[in-house]
């Protein structure tokens, strides 16, 4: 059962289409990694799903089905109610989403007061302490009266997760949740998210540029380039044998610890700017496999098997094809 299903989403400013027909779905208890470089449209996609596109940006086409209901037809008040309860979000730096003038305790307890109508102060406080303990913040009783700036980045992210836990969301959108954190703290936060997910069957969309994290924490991956998804499928399969030349290039561009190379594989050039996009495949100017037809028509997303799809006229060979090629050359 899909918790979230996005269909042909188009998000644009008056001048340019930032997201140009994107479709993906996440099931309960699963994590979808949305990867791409800056400007690929991954954050705009997520903010649009949340009904919070940046100023001047509009969702113009497509459907955003949450539990079968199109979020685009909901009123702002209905959306607000959903965001508080059913849909949670975690952003890159919680310092920007927490109020610096209020104690952590106040920010957690106000939710119990206004949303759940709990009148007793002691009761609200006890619930907040319980939440902080669940995200493993040491000595929660004393930390409730601290301000956000008195927490480290990792601890602030734990608070953000705690606030989301209180909502018990069925869908959690995490936009680069660990990018600002130190590497040894990063994994702790993601482990915590995974723990929460397995307890409650939350569906998670994890937006990141870090391919290592996708491999470790996601079930499925969607690779975005210039406002479109170019390849999609189970993480294992896509990482083992990427079919889109961009996915392959990205994987080759990351230095690997135990793989001594003198040079990294490079994707030449740079991604196009929104608005400057020609017809045809958007990756063609940088693509080592590009041929004449790539520049004229955009390749639609097509299914490779029941789980994988790719948008490319000349994809990398599949395992079977390259094995038979190998057999042909060695014989």
């Amino acid at each position: 059962m899909n918790i979230l299903s996005v269909q042909d989403l188009v998000v644009q400013t008056p001048a340019a289409r930032l997201v140009d027909g994107v479709s993906f779905a996440v099931r309960a208890g699963r994590t979808l990694g949305l990867v791409g470089e800056s400007g690929s449209g991954k954050s705009v996609t997520c903010l649009s799903v949340l009904g919070l596109p940046p100023r001047g940006v509009q969702v113009s086409e497509g459907r955003i089905l949450f539990d079968g209901e199109d979020l685009r037809t909901q009123t702002p008040a209905q959306l607000n109610a959903l965001r508080g309860r059913e849909i949670g979000m975690i952003l890159q730096d919680p310092m920007t989403s927490l109020n610096p003038l209020l104690t952590i305790g106040r920010q957690i307890t106000e939710m119990f007061r206004y949303r759940d109508g709990i009148a007793s102060r002691a009761e609200r406080r006890a619930r907040a302490i319980d939440l902080l303990r669940r995200v493993r913040i040491p000595a929660p009783e004393s930390r409730l009266d601290s301000y956000p700036h008195q927490f480290s980045g990792g601890m602030r992210q734990r608070v953000a997760i705690a606030i989301n836990l209180a909502c018990n969301p069925r869908l959690l959108i995490a936009d680069e949740p660990t990018t600002a954190l130190d590497i040894t703290v990063r994994l702790q936060i993601l482990d915590l998210l995974r723990e929460v997910q397995s307890e409650r069957g939350t569906a998670i969309v994890l937006v990141t540029h870090d391919l290592h994290l996708v491999r470790r924490y996601c079930d499925d991956v969607a690779v975005m380039y210039a406002g479109l998804i170019v390849e999609q499928g189970p993480v294992e399969a896509v990482f083992a044998r990427p079919r889109h030349p961009y996915t392959k290039g990205l994987l080759g561009a990351v230095p690997r610890l135990r793989d001594l190379q003198h040079r990294l594989t490079v994707i030449p050039g740079q991604p196009p700017l929104p608005g400057s996009i020609a017809q045809g495949c958007r990756f063609a100017p940088r693509c080592p496999r590009a041929q004449a037809d790539c520049a004229s028509t955009y390749p639609a997303m097509r299914a490779l098997d029941s789980q994988r799809s790719v948008a490319c006229w000349h994809p990398e060979p599949s395992a079977a094809a390259s094995d038979s090629l190998l057999a042909a050359t060695t014989s």
Partner: protein
């Protein structure tokens, strides 16, 4: 022959918490020693508060050590020997910093930005000699010639970092201090810049001091690696000493965090918990003991001394993980 030799260098910043508080000090770098071989790369890896940027400033001469010395061949910089070779250091040791936008003046043209250090150091440079040097540098860093008239705002992050590299090269330095040179860049651009830095090193015989939080980037670039935690070296050695024969539990934690499958491979290595303590109040004994899965009583009370595991490999730990041969 070493391009750079750092011996027992420390930097403490005096801290006053209030009018009547006892003066304390933040020991940002504590007795660090290492050597950067000529034409090689020494990679410093560490998380926030590890003192890696303070160390970079000490080597660049932007800050002075409270103890110890920095030696470039026979030129020694210690507490009292600052001035004699200052001009040499200003030319021969250059930096490339993390944020290519923050380090370039938005009002200046790319050409002026690249040539500025040369104009300051040598006033008598002829006009066409300057232009020739600019042509050469833009080509070396892979930027089109017409970029000389553009301004930083018109460039992408990767292009700006190329400009910063050209500017660092204009005085024909011997050593480049690279402080998180690719952390602000996208993956595909990161690879371009790392390859460029390697090519330049091969072509110009440069020595690099590379600072990064990313062990994979450090391992890709470096011949030697030092692992910093709260201002102290936990472990240092050749690239293989660190990546293949890591002995310190912290190094193991960094490896596990940088390699997606490493945790499954080394099931006996536990992930570390907790956060980096404040450098203002470093833990007693071994500074890593609060997060160390292998910590015992002695780690809480006594600071370990550095042990030599081989000619190149040194570790500071009471209970290093020695691989069974």
């Amino acid at each position: 022959m070493s391009a750079l030799e750092v011996s027992d260098i420390s930097r403490a910043f005096p801290i006053r918490n209030g009018l009547f508080a006892r003066p304390a000090s933040l020991r940002a770098v504590e007795r660090v020693s290492f050597e950067l071989p000529q034409g090689g790369t020494f990679g410093l890896v560490g998380e926030s508060g590890s003192g890696k940027s303070t160390l970079a400033r000490l080597i660049l001469g932007a800050d002075e050590p409270t103890d110890g010395e920095v030696r470039f061949g026979d030129r020694v910089f210690g507490r009292r020997t600052q001035d004699r070779h200052k001009r040499w250091r200003q030319r021969a040791v250059q930096a490339v910093l993390q944020d290519p936008f923050g380090s370039l003046d938005p009002q200046m043209s790319i050409g002026d930005i690249v040539l500025e250090p040369l104009r300051i150091q040598q006033h008598d440079f002829a006009r066409d000699a300057l232009q020739k040097r600019l042509d050469e540098l833009l080509m070396q860093v892979g930027l089109p010639q017409e970029f000389r008239h553009r301004r930083p705002g018109e460039l992408s992050g990767g292009q700006r970092q190329r400009v910063a590299i050209a500017r660092a090269l204009v005085l024909e330095p011997e050593i480049l201090v690279l402080d998180e040179p690719v952390s602000a860049l996208d993956v595909s651009i990161q690879a371009q810049v790392l390859n460029l830095l390697k090519d330049l090193q091969d072509a110009l015989g440069l020595s690099y001091l590379l600072i990064s939080h990313d062990l994979a980037v450090v391992a890709f670039m470096s011949s030697h690696i030092g692992v910093l935690y709260l201002g102290r070296f936990m472990e240092q050695g050749t690239r293989d000493d660190i990546v293949e024969r890591a002995a310190h539990p912290y190094t193991h934690a960094l490896i596990a965090a940088s390699e997606p499958d490493a945790l499954d491979v080394q099931a006996d290595v536990q992930p570390i918990s907790g956060e980096i303590p404040s450098p203002l109040a470093p833990p007693s004994g071994c500074v890593f003991h609060t997060r160390c899965p292998a910590a015992r009583d002695i780690c809480r009370t006594d600071a370990p001394t550095e042990q030599r595991l081989s000619e190149t490999h040194r570790v500071t730990c009471h209970f290093p993980i020695i691989p069974q041969v």
